[in-house]
Amino acid sequence: MSIGASWYLVLAAILFTIGAVGLLVRRNVLVMFMCVELMLNAANLTFVSFSRSLNDIGGQVAVFFVLVVAAAEVVVGLGILVAIFRRKSGATADDAHVLKG
């Protein structure tokens, strides 16, 4: 018998919390992005856990789509970051607090 699903859910909750706190604490935009990826991975772990415990392939399909959307999100987000930092030299979120370029 393998590990119960609750252990995976608690682990995913811990990872999600670490990602959320990191998103709130860190000022570097790139590290904030990595914390978002951490939260997405925690959600993926939850999906796979429920997929197994409910005996349903739909959770794994959801993880597949989350992976695709995360890849697209990272591409667009990093493009925006590069476009911002071409004009401003700082690397923190406080340096980009105005919408006007």
Partner: protein
């Protein structure tokens, strides 16, 4: 409680694998948040992703584990590292400086609240009991076959919409990273003084003569012909 916190009933290799992968994931997650250098944060993110991939294998999601390694660790983190190097922000920074007053205390309190809430929820019955909407996991075919059949039958329309999303993302990335044409007399804020289009900067009289900046196509430096020394 159908999904209780039962670790004692698990076999020893399963329990050991879960414990090691969970420890690796959590250490990597703390490393992402706490490392001062963004490059180290990206490498710690790889560690977390690898731990989660091991957990995917443990939960019989082999295809997702492979995709996790290939897409996340192989593409996304490399993209992060690429942008870190491109922007030149790979230097140490102060984590606990700047920001709003009391921001970090509030952030940690909020995080603990979220954790407590989710763990309390995980102790209770929260599923409706509906099973196998898209397909059962317990059939005899492999994980990849099940996932592929589900994607190309039940979830075919979302899968096709995903391709549109990827095309939009590619076009958006190209548009965002295109260097905008600088108008006459406009100077970038923090941009180093470079000559992006080869037309010469104001006061840039090169040794090879005057620069004609009007009427020339981009990237073409029109140079006055040198004096024909000794032409007969």
């Amino acid at each position: 409680m159908p999904h209780g916190l039962v670790l004692a009933a698990a076999t020893l290799p399963d329990a050991l694998t879960f414990a090691i992968a969970a420890a690796v994931s959590i250490i990597g997650a703390f490393g992402v948040v706490l490392s001062r250098n963004p490059v180290h944060a990206a490498l710690m993110l790889v560690m977390t992703l690898f731990g989660i991939a091991v957990l995917f294998v443990e939960e019989n999601a082999q295809f997702l584990a492979a995709v996790q390694i290939i897409v996340y660790a192989g593409a996304i983190v490399v993209l992060f590292l690429f942008v870190i190097m491109l922007l030149g922000v790979d230097r140490r920074e102060q984590i606990f400086a700047g920001g709003l007053v009391g921001q970090r205390v509030v952030a940690v309190i909020l995080g603990v609240l979220v954790l407590v809430e989710v763990i309390l929820l995980a102790h209770h019955r929260w599923v409706t009991g509906a099973h196998s909407v898209a397909g059962s996991l317990s059939s005899s075919s492999s994980n990849v076959a099940q996932l592929g059949r589900s994607i190309f039958t039940t979830y075919l329309l979302p899968f096709e919409v995903t391709s549109a999303l990827l095309v939009v993302a590619v076009i958006g990335a190209i548009v965002l990273s295109r260097r905008p044409r600088r108008r006459q007399g406009e100077v970038g804020i923090a941009e180093p003084v470079v000559d992006p289009d080869g037309l010469g900067l104001p006061g840039d009289a090169g040794p090879e003569g005057a620069v004609a900046g009007t009427g020339a196509p981009d990237g073409v430096r029109v140079v006055s012909p040198p004096e024909e020394v000794g032409a007969r």
